[in-house]
Amino acid sequence: MTTDIIKPENLVYAKPALLNDTTMHYCPGCSHGVVHKLIAEVIADMGMEEKTVGVSPVGCAVFAYRYIDIDWQEAPHGRAPALAVGIKRLWPNRLVFTYQGDGDLACIGTAETLHALNRGDNITIIYVNNAIYGMTGGQMSATTLLEQPTATCPTGRTPELHGYPIDITNLAVQLEGTCFVSRQSVETVAAINKAKRAIRKAFEASMEGKGSSLVEIVSTCSSGWKMSPVAANKWMQENMFDHYKKGDLKDRTKE
């Protein structure tokens, strides 16, 4: 029975063509894989395979250039937006985006990020926020939630000692240079479809020269949070979305 169905004309879903066969180094269930797939699908849908330059960060996604078959540059820690601005200004007909985590974007690279967004350079920043330093062993990051335990705050983050979680996406809404700011997640099929539409909109806005775009993907870090991937998704739904509210926070692409 199943052999009758498995024919090329009946295909409804397959790994995106731009995602190559290299096994990803991410932990089982990591949100990075889904975001990589979405980026690969959107670039192919837009027909920009030969005209896209990604800038990969330092962090778990440091090897992003090994997985998506487009042109890439590797930036020093936190400096991806600065590098992307340089590439876009020299090559205005290219689709230029950065792919950064919260440790890269919201901790060490805050200055570059906010200034690039404020200047309104036509780049897109994909910001994967899992509220922890995943790659180095689960230390507290600037976006770690209050009371969330990590390796460096084992009893939970307290505002007296560690300060409050920073919300870069809300800051970006206030900046004149941004045209599209959105916060999405990738834990269910519906959420993944919404995130894909947001990434598409951001990429199109940067190609149309409307300003800079920021798409935050609230994601999980099952190893850093010390949970199973399924439990991590549930924990994210119950805790992260209260502080990091999803939706299109700013949309000037129609103006």
Partner: protein
């Protein structure tokens, strides 16, 4: 009456056994392998209840590693 029938093909060598597809499937088609692992040591996903598949592609969409290919066709029921 027409009915949708689906089939999934899982790249078991690439699978890391995160079980997100198992949870996402609305028809309980998938399960993690028991007492069997792939070359990387992960208990991979497999379609143990393949007859129930309607080809909705929820499993493929949520798979972080792009291991799942989904096919679907209309079947006439007598």
């Amino acid at each position: 009456m027409n009915k949708m029938k689906g089939a999934v093909v899982i790249n078991t060598n690439r699978c890391k056994g995160c079980s997100l597809c198992v949870v996402a499937c609305p028809y309980s088609v998938l399960e993690l392998a028991r007492k069997k692992v792939n070359a990387s040591g992960y208990a991979y996903a497999q379609a143990t209840n393949a007859e129930a598949c309607v080809g909705c592609a929820a499993c493929g969409t949520v798979c972080p590693d792009g291991c799942i290919t989904v096919y679907r066709m209309k079947v006439e029921e007598k």
